[in-house]
């Protein structure tokens, strides 16, 4: 029997709300590690992120500035945090923060902090607005899409599509428009929330599937678990799902990771067309999904493997997973004393 290695891991995405960040799922995976004895540093943007207050999740929490505060503010904060903690690995869990972490990576390395995250090129290649080019570059089947920066361009862009079309925000949100009037309406709705560009995408009628996967940055798929959502929230987020056995989904994950040399966790959103059974790649989310703990339930601990890869441990890819495992989320009111809230409010750490 080997003794577990002590390690300190910092994790963002503690917002275990109705549309949750992946942080808590990642921490649960790390807590179940058979290789590491983990100390978890939570990194929170907001002082009411539930993960700060949940028992047994984080050992210490630091509030960090939003990426919009700029690179210097983030670097200053991490210099302070690393002065208190000896963080070995950071796992960022938000799309919107990833670019800042990519820029910070060389500075993190100097501080002794390891990351397994995509490069700037990998991150930008898979942006929703670049999906067509991504498909062409890597010979991956994607739905036709067009990027629109101004309402005046919308009508012309729509001429190349048959209705219905999907109107998507650059980060989040997607609406199905059955007419040009609806497309205009959704353009304004999405651009008001997420800014431009918005993406017009061919509507594929079929079933959606998702895959949580991990790449080693050298082209090897280290693990992958496909899932079908069985219950959705009003925001279209998975509230329940089930692991499935479809080799084509794993093959798609393998292709994406080998062709892009992806480093770190990712989620593939895929659509299988009813008529043709053809698989389309809709999106690549550049981090673990909030449901990544299902992979643990299926026998693949992706967060643990990410840490091992980041730390340069030798690891063999997962080849098997359990099919027919379900996850179901639930809401739960925690009763909290004021002291933690007070400390994080006043000191920015607790």
């Amino acid at each position: 029997m080997h003794s577990k290695k002590d390690i300190t891991i910092a994790v963002t995405g503690l917002n275990a709300i109705d549309s949750p960040g992946p942080g808590i799922a990642v921490i649960r995976g790390l807590r179940e590690s058979t290789f590491y004895n983990v100390r978890i540093i939570g990194l929170a943007y907001e002082i009411l992120e539930p993960g700060i207050y949940m028992d047994g999740m984080v050992d210490k929490v630091y509030q960090i500035p939003y990426p919009s505060s700029g690179f210097d503010a983030m670097l200053e904060r991490f210099t302070y945090i690393q002065g208190n903690e000896k963080i070995d690995v950071v796992i960022p869990n938000f799309d919107a923060e990833l670019m800042t972490f990519i820029k910070l990576k060389p500075h993190f390395n100097k501080m002794g902090i390891h990351l397994l995250i995509p490069t700037k090129e990998q991150f930008e290649d898979r942006l929703k607005g670049n999906l067509n080019a991504f498909g062409e570059k890597h010979q991956i089947n994607v739905p036709k899409s067009e990027t629109v920066y101004h309402i005046n361009e919308l009508e012309e862009a729509l001429e190349g599509f048959e209705y219905p079309v999907v109107i998507k925000g650059k980060f989040y949100d997607a609406y199905i428009a059955a007419s040009s009037e609806q497309a205009r309406e959704f353009y304004f709705k999405v651009s008001a929330k997420w800014g431009v560009p918005i993406i017009i995408q061919e509507f594929i009628k079929g079933n959606e599937f998702n895959v949580t996967a991990l790449g080693d940055g050298k082209g090897t798929l280290m693990g992958a678990v496909p899932m079908r959502k069985t219950f959705l929230t009003d925001k279209g987020k998975a509230w329940a799902g089930i692991s499935i056995n479809d080799p084509n989904l794993i093959k798609m994950a393998d292709e994406v990771i080998s062709k892009t040399q992806w480093a770190g966790g990712l989620e593939l959103e895929l659509m299988k067309e009813d008529k043709t059974n053809k698989l389309y790649l809709l999106e690549i989310n550049p981090r673990f999904p909030a449901w990544v703990y299902l992979a643990n339930g299926c026998g693949q601990n992706h967060p643990e493997m990410l840490v091992k890869l980041a730390m340069g441990e030798k690891v063999a890819p997962y080849k098997k997973y359990d099919v027919g495992k379900m996850f179901i989320r639930y809401s739960y009111d925690m009763i909290c004393d004021l002291d933690k809230y007070e400390k994080i409010s006043i000191h920015g750490e607790v």
Binding site: M227, R228, T230, G241, I244, N245, V323, G324
Partner: protein, 80 residues
């Protein structure tokens, strides 16, 4: 006509398609038919076994089985 080989059928009537993650429920007769479809029994053979074990005439049974098979096909549980 044959049931897709990876379809899981439990005695309770719970049917699970691991390829799509979809699940269904059926009664004991449905389970019996699905089990026979797993081994590629002919529809004539299925009708004969139902008529033998249940109080039903052959014509009604044939019609009902046809409906049931159509539903299975719609749910993508039958091999093409």
């Amino acid at each position: 006509m044959k049931l897709k080989k990876n379809i899981a059928i439990s005695e309770s009537g719970f049917v699970f398609n691991p390829e799509t993650g979809t699940s269904f429920t059926t009664n004991s007769l449905g389970v019996a038919i699905l089990k026979q479809l797993k081994t590629k029994t002919s529809t004539e053979g299925i009708i004969a076994s139902i008529v033998k074990n249940y109080e039903i005439d052959e014509t009604t049974c044939e019609k009902d089985l046809e409906d049931f098979l159509r539903i299975l096909s719609q749910f993508n549980l039958i091999e093409e």
